[in-house]
Amino acid sequence: MTFFFQNVVNALQYGSFYALIALGYSMVYSILMLFNFAHGDIFMTGAYIGFGVATGLTVLAAAGTIVLPNWLILVLTILIAMFLTSMLGMLVERLGYRPLRDAPRASAAITGMMIGLILEYGNLLLLGPQRRSFPRLIQTVTYDVGGVILTNKKIMIVAVSMVLMYALHLFISRTRWGLAMRAMAFDHVVVPLMGVPINTIARLTFALGSALAAVAGIFFGLAYPVLDPYMGIVFGWKAFVAAILGGRGSVMGATIAGFMLGFIEIFVAMVFPSTLRDLIAYSIILGILVFRPHGLFGEAYSARLRL
């Protein structure tokens, strides 16, 4: 039984990353009807920005220039990285996607992939191909709860991710900006004619998605402290699968599907030989999509932003 619960804990942490990234795919799709295929690499860039900020602050704190406890460094790292990565997201929207808004959708998809490559190889050029070790900002504390091993990092990652997802939910459901996003998702031809600024909303959507990806990147660095420029590719694909599984445009769906993907991957490896993990895990997801082709919370012929 502890074996089972241990894997629940493992899956919760793993699923948090998928959910945070999948939200970015889903929101952008609902507003602009395109998948931002650079999103996995925005996640990677977020992790690297976090790495840069955290390393810089750690050095400053160690030199005694400013007095910073480690937890404050972490909070500052998350905030600064969220800000900078959302800037990057907006830049990607402005340069990559806005000129193509009326172009065929394949053009936007290809652009996304190219932006992803630019981010990967730009990083390679800037920092070189060496792996980077994410600073260990939190001293790992291990708790043994009836045989299930928890760490303070795991608890923090899952808790903060959930708080952020709930905050996003509140933002979309309660604020005027959220209302504008939902309206835009409802009809992005008529709603701009009624005075809702589509460019501002698109920018906002990219900023929100990128900020969440930055948080995912930093948490990823804390949990798996080896960073490399290609870390966003496969992870981005899998999060994209979660966005599809959740139903395009559904915030709730992306969250739930993200966690579900984490659970499926972890539990398949628990029951079957781990060699077959991805084969079986993604066959299960394919099976779900056969019966629910629009995803868990998707609706046919609609990509409305839903809660």
Partner: protein, 389 residues
């Protein structure tokens, strides 16, 4: 009439151009290096490059390779294989066809060395992989050699070492199923361990795929199965993640690895988590003597860090190539020369390398010893034991 004259003229020109070459030694000897300068293991590529640069410096100082009393200048062409199998094939093809090199050193990892070795063998060009330990690299390929021992040798060495050192009976294996080297070594270790302790003594045999970062599910299974020791023949980018997650999930036993751990990056990325762990490898920098120490000091002085095994093996491989060229009878005809170098290399006996004495077998694999290294509390690789076949 005019056409005939042109033809004769053309013949004359071609004849003149070819004349000085026939029967003479080549003007310049080109050696190709096929290394992962970018991609998953760039450090390995960098050290290969530095070792090659040091070798070239030596030869430049000496005026070239001594072939039959004549010094011939050497040119080294380095191609990046991006740590990908397909790029390694491309790099090997370019070196053979376009650059017309006499011999190739590299690729390093088996994932690239196996396909690139195939290309070299088909094109009858001698290729020596300094670091690839998978048997398939040289199997049935007369033109392909290696500078290190094989996976099947490391498997039993590690299994014997764990048994003697700790007296454990239950082992677990965690490896990357999508990469030739870890997969091959995992299989050999499993066979060796089960030969020592009986069927079922490998209580968990778990895998993942390249680029995975989360091993929690596999490690939970390993702990659940009651494994006393974990063997994980992975590269330096995965080892820190595996070790850290194993410790966080409550795994208390030792974690043992193979020569792929032997990069300074392992301890740089892993920190204190990895101290006290063991792995088998080709050489240990701490405690080295003689020519090995001279090489290490020189490398450290030139590039600012201690060379890993891959640099030492690349150095040895280049010197094996040099020795083969020196004893071959070069004609200036690239096809004949490649054959001559291959034949000379196969005949090398008791070569005194900095990673040990080597003699090549029929398959192009050297017979040499392995070293068990312990990672010290300071993160240094300390010589712990020597294990010969």
């Amino acid at each position: 009439m005019r056409k005939g004259l042109l033809f004769v003229l053309a013949l004359l020109v071609v004849g003149l151009a070819l004349a000085p070459c026939a029967g003479a030694a080549p003007k310049v000897i080109k050696i190709g290096i096929n290394a992962p300068l970018t991609g998953d293991i760039p450090k390995v590529g960098e050290e290969s490059k530095y070792a090659a640069q040091m070798w070239l410096e030596d030869l430049k100082a000496a005026g070239g390779i001594n072939v039959g009393g004549k010094k011939i200048p050497v040119e080294v062409i380095i191609e990046d294989n991006e740590s990908k199998a397909e790029s390694a094939v491309k790099a090997a093809t370019k070196l053979i066809k376009q650059d017309e090199v006499l011999a190739i050193v590299g690729p390093q990892a088996s994932k690239q060395a196996i396909p690139a070795g195939g290309v070299a063998n088909e094109n009858k060009t001698p290729l020596i992989s300094p670091w690839s330990t998978n048997p398939d690299t040289t199997k049935d390929r007369p033109f392909v050699f290696r500078g290190c021992f094989l996976d099947p040798f490391q498997g039993p060495v590690v299994a014997n070492f764990i048994t003697e050192e700790f007296g454990f009976k239950k082992a677990a294996v965690l490896y990357d199923v999508a990469s030739d080297y870890p997969k091959g070594l995992a299989e050999v270790f499993k066979a060796a361990w089960e030969k020592l302790h009986g069927a079922g003594s490998v209580v968990a045999y778990e895998s993942f795929t390249t680029k995975d970062a989360d091993f929690s599910s596999q490690l939970t299974k390993i702990i659940q199965a009651g494994a006393e020791v974990l063997f994980t023949p992975q590269y330096y980018n995965e080892v820190p993640l595996i070790v850290q997650q194993a410790h966080e999930l409550g795994f208390k036993g030792p974690i043992v690895g193979s020569d792929s751990w032997g990069s300074p990056e392992t301890t740089k990325l892993c920190g204190a988590e990895c101290s006290g762990l063991f792995f088998s490898t080709h050489y240990a920098a701490a405690g080295a003597t003689g020519a090995t120490k001279a090489f290490i000091d020189r490398f450290q002085k030139a590039y600012g860090y201690e060379p890993a095994d891959v640099a030492a093996l690349t150095w040895d491989s280049l010197r094996i190539v040099q020795k083969a060229i020196e004893s071959a009878n070069l004609t200036g005809d690239i096809v004949k020369d490649r054959q001559a170098v291959r034949d000379a290399m196969a005949k090398i006996q008791e070569f005194e390398g900095i990673t040990g004495k080597m003699t090549f077998t029929e398959e192009g694999d050297p017979i040499k010893c392995a070293v068990i290294v312990r990672i010290s509390d300071k993160g240094e690789f300390e010589f712990y034991k020597s294990a010969c076949p």
